[in-house]
């Protein structure tokens, strides 16, 4: 495996830093005097600048540097954090992202504008020059002819403790030319007072070299401001191009050396260029291409999937074998596979917070664009989901949040008239139930105008004028292709993407979408998304001769039904379970099984959240790690199954779609109740 390209790593990292910066700024907007937030934003700016320069993103580094300088005033308490500042830095952040993505573009005007805004926001700041990576003189030192120098230096006592070895200075000086070293031991205390970790020596060095004074000073770079150092050109030396025969190094003088370009340390411009050249072709690649690690995870996931299938074959063979050794190995293998699978899952899981956080910026921008005050709240951010699933949810959610802000929430006057708080609320929430995560977007706006939906649907030919239609079905029309309730296409929601696209996206994740709305009170769009797409824990059951898998997270309990109970319940579709009526479905009937039923029928109670349904099967075989294979196009209308899997003996078992079976059961129950 080859090493990943550091430039790619930088891009990923830059994206994270920009994300942190954005979150920090958005928080800061609400808590303007929170020092930790100011520090966090500053740190992100600072790191971005530093790493940017390391990887040849000079424009980014220069631009970020100016932002950092401005922001530093806030950090130092010289300027106050204001909403204007936050907004200016947010826009500057967007520009930084552009610079990461396209470092070669021409951005001078935009940068000038952004920096002017920043400067205005930290009023009183010294004028910020426009970013220019080429800034900084490249003063080439003139090489000198050999000179003899007399160098005297002494170091502080704690030099050794702080990791400096004075011998290394002598070595470096010796490497420059002919050298004579004399140690000055005059400060050495008597043995009983000597601290073995302290330094008491000083040195006098006579050096003949063609290197410049700056080069000699460079040797002492790190200790310059703590030490005494004199460097004198000997009177008898051939020529002395250096100005001034003697110079005592002052505390502030040498500091410049550390940063000033010298022949040994070329100017940043010069050092950065080669890196830039080599990186160039890669820079044109989109940021997506750096997500190689995620793809590798997918590969790994596939292998684990295969392994699980092989393992279940082994298990089946072992189960019928009397070889204890084989059985032990098989059990061990099962445990390892199961652990491996869990590890694999956890690797791919990320908290929903990473998804929700993106919408804070969106809402910030939506406030500006709609002129509505919007408060975004979130809950259940720690709910975890597969990374791929989360990424594929990002766009549909953008659309839902936009919709809520644009169509859902009323303008301030209308809200005031309705007696609602001025700021509209959009709530993002996530929770896990069984093997699914339910993500919902709720607004407290006007709700969906049924009359308008009807008019639109009739106009679009989706329903016949005057048809009676249940409220829930009417709302579902919104998900039909070509449906849009906004009479004029606004900048926000009407981007040619309708709710049908959202629905498609969710269904491609094996999820479902649901809409509830109360006129005048608001709407909720709920997305039910399976936790993962690849492997689930299943309960293997037999109905007639067929094997089926019930996703284990949905299973509540398994009960054996006695023959009497079985007979008693014939003709009815629910059973009393601990004083609750549980509707059930006889899978034998549903699947039209013709073989003789087992004498003792079993009921598996499944649930999604609050709704329970019993599934009556012939035999419960047991736990089965299930690698999900999706069904072919031909079978995509089959509602009772969500996929298929291959069993250890190579035969196929269908995976029951619990959500659908539950709604079927609930319908049955409702019908029966209606009759009763």
């Amino acid at each position: 495996m080859s090493n990943p390209d550091p430039v790619d790593i930088f891009r990923i990292e830059a994206a994270e830093l920009l994300e942190q910066m954005e979150q920090g700024l958005l928080d800061l907007e609400h808590r303007l005097d929170d020092r930790t937030l100011v520090d966090a934003v500053f740190r992100a700016l600072h790191t971005l600048k530093g790493s940017g320069a390391m990887f040849g993103f000079d424009r980014l580094a220069a631009f970020t540097h100016h932002c950092e300088t401005a922001f530093d005033r806030v950090r130092k308490g010289l300027a106050e954090a204001t909403p204007e500042l936050v907004s200016a830095v947010l826009d500057a952040r967007d520009h930084m992202r552009a610079l990461v993505e396209d470092p070669s573009g021409d951005h001078a005007d935009e940068e000038r504008y952004l920096l002017e805004r920043l400067q205005a926001a930290v009023s009183g700041a010294a004028p910020l020059p426009v970013a220019s990576p080429a800034d900084g003189p490249v003063a080439a030192a003139v090489p000198a002819s050999p000179t003899t120098w007399c160098i005297r230096f002494s170091l502080p006592e704690n030099t050794l403790v702080n990791g400096t070895n004075p011998l290394s200075f002598l070595d470096e000086l010796r490497a420059m030319g002919e050298c004579r070293v004399v140690a000055d031991r005059s400060a050495l205390p008597p043995l009983e007072k000597l601290d073995p970790t302290a330094l008491y020596l000083a040195w006098e060095v006579t050096l003949t070299t063609d290197r410049s004074r700056a080069d000699i000073e460079d040797v002492f770079l790190f200790v310059m401001d703590d030490m005494t150092l004199t460097i004198e050109a000997q009177a008898d030396s051939a020529s002395t191009p250096e100005p001034g025969p003697s110079a005592t190094i002052s505390a502030d003088g040498p500091l410049a050396i550390a940063t000033e370009p010298s022949p040994d340390r070329p100017a940043p411009e010069a050092t950065a260029r080669p890196a830039n050249d080599t990186a160039d072709p890669r820079l044109r690649r989109k940021v997506e291409s750096v997500r190689v690690p995620a793809e590798r995870l997918d590969e790994l996931m596939d292998r684990v999937g295969e392994l699980v299938i092989v393992q279940s074959r082994l298990q089946q063979i072992a189960a019928t074998s009397s070889d204890m050794g084989l059985r032990t190995v098989s059990e061990e293998m099962e445990r390892l596979c199961s652990e491996l699978r869990v590890t694999m899952m956890v690797l791919r899981m990320v908290p929903v917070a990473t998804l929700f956080d993106r919408y804070r910026r969106l809402v910030h921008d939506l406030q500006r664009d709609t002129g509505k005050k919007i408060e975004l709240s979130t809950d259940g951010e720690s709910t975890e989901m597969d990374k791929t699933v989360i990424e594929r949810l990002a766009d549909p959610l953008v659309h839902l949040v936009r919709n809520a802000a644009d169509h859902g929430l009323e303008p301030a006057e209308a809200r005031a008239a309705a007696g609602k708080p001025e700021a509209g609320s959009i709530r993002l929430s996530a929770r896990q139930t069984g093997g699914e995560v339910i993500i919902s977007v709720t607004d407290d706006g006007r709700g969906i105008d049924r009359a308008r939906v009807r008019t639109k649907a009739e106009a679009a030919g989706l329903i016949q004028p005057g048809t009676t239609i249940a409220d829930q079905d009417l709302l579902q029309l919104i998900f039909q292709p070509g449906f849009s309730t906004a009479s004029s296409v606004t900048n926000l929601s009407g981007r040619g993407v309708g709710m049908d696209v959202v629905k498609k996206a969710i269904e491609s994740l094996h999820g479902s979408i649901d809409l509830t709305s109360r006129p005048g009170e608001g709407s909720t769009v709920s997305l039910r998304i399976p936790l993962t797409l690849a492997i689930i824990d299943g309960l293997l059951v037999r109905v007639g001769e067929g094997h089926y898998v019930i996703p284990l997270p949905a299973v509540e309990e398994c009960i054996e039904i006695s023959q009497e109970e079985d007979l008693r319940s014939r003709g009815r579709a629910f059973l009393s379970l601990r004083d609750t009526l549980v509707p059930f479905i006889r899978l034998r009937e549903l699947f039209a099984t013709s073989t003789k039923p087992d004498p003792y029928q079993k009921m598996v109670v499944v649930s999604t959240g609050d709704e329970h349904v019993g599934l009556i099967v012939d035999q419960i075989i047991g736990h089965h790690q299930t690698v999900i294979k999706s069904m072919s196009k031909l079978h995509e209308d089959v509602t009772a199954f969500s996929g298929a899997t291959i069993l250890g003996d190579g035969s196929v078992a269908l995976i029951l779609d619990v959500a659908n079976l539950i709604s079927l059961g609930q319908e049955q129950e409702a019908q029966l109740r209606a009759i009763a």
């Binding site: 090493n3 990943p4 550091p6 790593i9 930088f10 990923i12 990292e13 740190r43 600072h46 790191t47 600048k49 530093g50 790493s51 320069a53 390391m54 990887f55 580094a61 050794l160 403790v161 702080n162 990791g163 400096t164 070895n165 011998l167 290394s168 070595d171 470096e172 970790t197 770079l221 790190f222 401001d225 703590d226 502030d252 500091l255 410049a256 550390a258 940063t259 340390r265 070329p266 940043p268 050092t271 950065a272």
Partner: protein, 122 residues
Amino acid sequence: MTASILTVDDSMSVRMTTRIALTGAGYKVTEAVDGLDGLNKARATRFDVVITDLNMPNMDGLRMIEEFRRLPNQIGVPILFLTTESDAALKGRAKAAGATGWLVKPFEPDQLVRLVQKVLAK
């Protein structure tokens, strides 16, 4: 014997570049992601050189350097810090905390290697 170097930086890209440069020059590199991590690693093993960023979450470089200097197993180990600005005050503070030297970002791999050679006692 191969000198072993501890690099402490919250930026993965910087850690990676330093690692490539240093392992390329034949050093053994241990990485830490912030001051706290660095300190914990230093408690367990003695290093020949430490290279650290200053601006980091959890524990910043200055704090780490101070704490590091109190570790009995790390007396006299050179500590280099990476800094982006040529801010005299910051350097002064890092020195006061016990740092040996610094390197201004951006830097070239050779510069880093030369610097490590500089502070590594023969």
